[in-house]
Point group: C2
Chain length 189, copies 2
DNA sequence: ACCAATATATGTTGGATTGATATATAAAAT
DNA sequence: ATTTTATATATCAATCCAACATATATTGGT
């Protein structure tokens, strides 16, 4: 899957400009799927318009540069469906925070504690935002994705909160007994 | 943070070759921190050796090309510490699976169900692997990271397992009542 | 015994991608 | 009044990745 598919997917929800696509892909509801920057979005939109997967209408604006609003065509929807039908690649998760924690024995305790509490706050904020975003969702697809985000971010938030007392040199007594080999799946119903 | 810091971090745990670093960075215990490929690792190692952050000894092997084993120097450790002290960037999470789920209304139910059950299996397998990896860990840093992985992967696994009955068109009755505004944090102690 | 595939090991390269920058204006904040 | 932020498109140097090339050992199937 590539930048083309991301654009087609976003445009399948409604018309948009390159600028709007970038915003959605880096911050908004579309920020956890495929990476995107201006340098890849604008050429992709131009090429796909040439290939008749998109149409483009210019809206001349007072002062501002022309707004190029892109719409998906039937050929574009077909290409989107094809792309969505290929097996998804493995999820990609990269965390500099975890890298720092992994190396924490080489850092001093105060700094690590500060990093941890800072991350706890970030996670709490982000979780709250995801919850707020999810409240007005009605369609199954977006609801599923939001629920997934809440589940995963909630777990990360809980874990960091419970380990704020992490020590770089000593294993906390509260951590040790947890390594029970049996899974303890609670029947959550 | 960049590829240089990743290499320094890996080498701070022990000497390694470029080939070994690549393996660890794409599959092993170091696969969730910074992205890396041969095209970036080999030049980084060469340059850092020139800068005296690393030393390199060649081990001539029978037949095979010379094995270049890199070791971190004190200057390297200093640079690592500096890099680790800078504020970590936001975690990066990208999932084509979630993109497909988001767009599921444009796909047929059977295909989506198949994707879901396939992902459920993948998550279960991966979770089991993380649990196995974590059993022999003793140092606090690696234990923290492994615990984080278990928490997050466990949550993803639970969520997908509970939503195998996901429908592309209808919101399942079992999903609707869940959107309670209060958090229901169960005291896990 | 033979062959194919995989693993070890280093390195290069074409094409793609990013992050920064340039341009231009409006609105909001200080 | 002035700085910052937001809207909006586009380019480009620097970087990076995926794939390939090279060379040999090992494993596993037939």
């Amino acid at each position: 899957m590539n930048i083309r598919t991301l654009c087609l997917g976003i445009l399948s929800f409604g018309d948009a400009t390159g600028y709007e696509i970038k915003k959605m892909a880096e911050d908004g509801l579309f920020s956890h799927f495929v990476e995107a920057s201006y340098g890849s979005i604008y050429p992709a939109l131009t090429r796909m318009t040439d290939e008749d997967l998109l149409t483009c209408r210019s809206e001349t604006q007072d002062g501002k540069p022309d707004k190029k609003i892109y719409s998906i065509t039937q050929a574009g929807r077909d290409e989107l469906t094809t792309a969505l039908t290929t097996r998804p690649k493995k999820d990609k998760f990269k965390s500099e925070f975890l890298f720092i924690m992994l190396m924490s024995e080489h850092l001093d305790q105060d700094h690590v504690s500060e990093v941890l509490s800072h991350r706890a706050q970030e996670l709490a904020d982000e979780l709250e935002m995801i919850r707020a975003c999810g409240e007005h969702l009605t369609k199954p697809g977006p609801r599923f994705v939001n629920g997934y985000g809440q589940a995963v971010m909630g777990a990360a938030n809980d874990y960091v909160s419970k380990n704020l007392n992490f020590s770089t040199t000593q294993i906390e007594p509260s951590e040790v007994p947890e390594r029970s080999p049996h899974v303890t799946v609670e029947a959550a119903e």
